[in-house]
């Protein structure tokens, strides 16, 4: 945990793979290829990937794809998934309409 990723590491070029069109984030419709490319574009943390591609930022808030994205990024970086810091957790944990989020009890 909290492993600092060595940014000077050479992860090589992006090499297309036959299953790059596999959909990973079901809500935002992001593919495996897009995630792999993002890593080669320099997005090495899960938080960066999330902001760059919106994986896990759709309606379900990463319920299904977090683990899948983590695996893909880890493999691309040549590290174990356990070494990657998960994306930040913050409120609201579940999708909440803005009008509800703004309406706090008195």
């Amino acid at each position: 945990m909290n492993t600092v990723i060595d940014r000077s590491k050479d992860i090589g070029e992006f090499i297309p793979q036959p299953d790059d069109d596999m959909l990973i984030c079901r809500c935002e419709e992001i593919t495996k290829g897009e995630i792999r490319k993002a890593v080669h574009d320099g997005m090495w943390t899960l938080t960066e990937i999330r902001r760059y591609l919106r994986t896990g930022m759709g309606l379900c808030q990463g319920q299904t794809c977090s683990r899948l994205v983590k695996g893909i990024v880890a493999r691309e970086l040549g590290v174990s998934p356990a070494e990657l810091e998960p994306a930040t957790s913050r409120s609201p944990m579940r999708p909440v309409e803005m009008k509800v989020f703004g309406k706090e009890e008195a």
């Binding site: 495996k32 356990a82 998960p86 944990m93 989020f101």
Partner: protein, 527 residues
Amino acid sequence: MKRYEVIIVGAGPSGLSAAIEAAKKGLKVVVFDENEKPGGQLFKQIHKFFGSKEHHAKIRGFKIGEELLQEADALGVEVILNATVVGLYSDKEVNVKIGDQIHHYKGDTVIIATGASENMVTFPGWTLPGVIGAGAAQTMMNLHGIQPGKKILMLGSGNVGLVVSFQLLQAGCEVVAIVDALPRVGGYGVHASKVARCGVPFYLSHTIKAVEGKDKVTGVVIHQIDERFMPIAGTEKHFDVDTVCMAVGLSPMSQLLKMAGCEMEDNPKRGGQVPIVNEYGETSVSGIYAAGDVSGIEEASSAMIEGKMAGVCVAEYLGYIEKEERDAELKIFEKDLDSLRQGMFAPKNRGKKIEKTDEGIDISTNLLEKGYVADDEIERFPGVTHKAGVHPVIECTQNIPCNPCQDACPKKCISTGDNITYLPFVKEDAECINCGMCVASCSGQAIFLVDEDCGDGTATVTLPYEFLPLPQEGDKGYGLSRKGEKVCEATVVSVKSVKAFDHTNLLTMRVPKEYAMKARFFKKAEV
């Protein structure tokens, strides 16, 4: 803002157990759950639980759920449903969405019992309508009374995949295959066997190549994979299905703990991202506890004990009980928990390849690879013995913490020895009165009453039967082997359904005596 002594997030087995223990000590407890109904996954669990009396063994999950709810209610625990906890902070402030408002609560202590979410794997077509999680299948059939599909392929042979496959059969669906990428069945052998004997084939070292269909699932192709999980060309198999069900593991739903600043770790043995906790579930943030699957994937039985531990700990934390009282109670819970964490499937043994039982008997390789014990393997297990007259045959071949069979027999015929995980055996001087209590009490449906030679060239086999329509006395059909293949003709001698059997009917069939040790299920002949 409202203040509570204990705020519990999640009204599943661990959350409710924690609430009950805390309330017993006089604490003011509130439980928030985002679902419409409390009980977590318990109300989808319709099988009898494993374990011993202390672990609610041989009681069906949904009944345990009802008991917990009643107990919590009687103790004045406030359970607020449709209440989604959207935020947790280190000062133990909790934000909850109830209706169309966000409410703020402050807990003197907080117990997070949010459970787990399902893992998924990807394959072409995995987003098509008809590809569902195993939890979805359980929700549909066991909560809402609807079949998830007509013809279903199950991906995953862990306990969830096996248990849900059996439930699908009980709901009248057809399970065309159980597929797993690993070379061995992941769940309990007894769960696999009860599905296999209904004729469901197992494909280990196989995975889904693609799901077919334009707007919805119409078929699926699986293929074999090698040790490096690479597909082997030419091994494709096609099945016509309308549903593909995924049971490929669970991940702790621990995001709230991370949000609160609890120290976390990624621990594959616990199923993923979990809080670092002491043996009673306290996190690095004083007063915030974690119990159940959120701190490591296990069974509901262990989740309940972890909940109790957290409940007792918060009572002491807030000064309701002395340290001595807490420690005395924790000691009992620890013992219960420890006994559940024994055997082949214990968390400590995860990923280990176990070749022999504790008794030194070779594990059935056929069971691990095909889901059933082969005829030439079954005789080596201690529960399988022969004698004149009706006697129990216990096809329990793996060390799992479970012993209801031992308590069920009024004549004390069955023993598991001095360890809950030992394989049960029939005492030599035992006098079986053919009451069937052992058959009905075995959560793994692995006990049969057999009269190997009735004197007229036939034998009788009594087996547990939990399907509808229930066969009737005199019905003719076939005896199915452990693999689920028709091996002989069979006639139903009797079907017993008494309250003490709790919906496990005892079907006795007459078969040619050569099949006394081979026929393990009954299928009615089609007219």
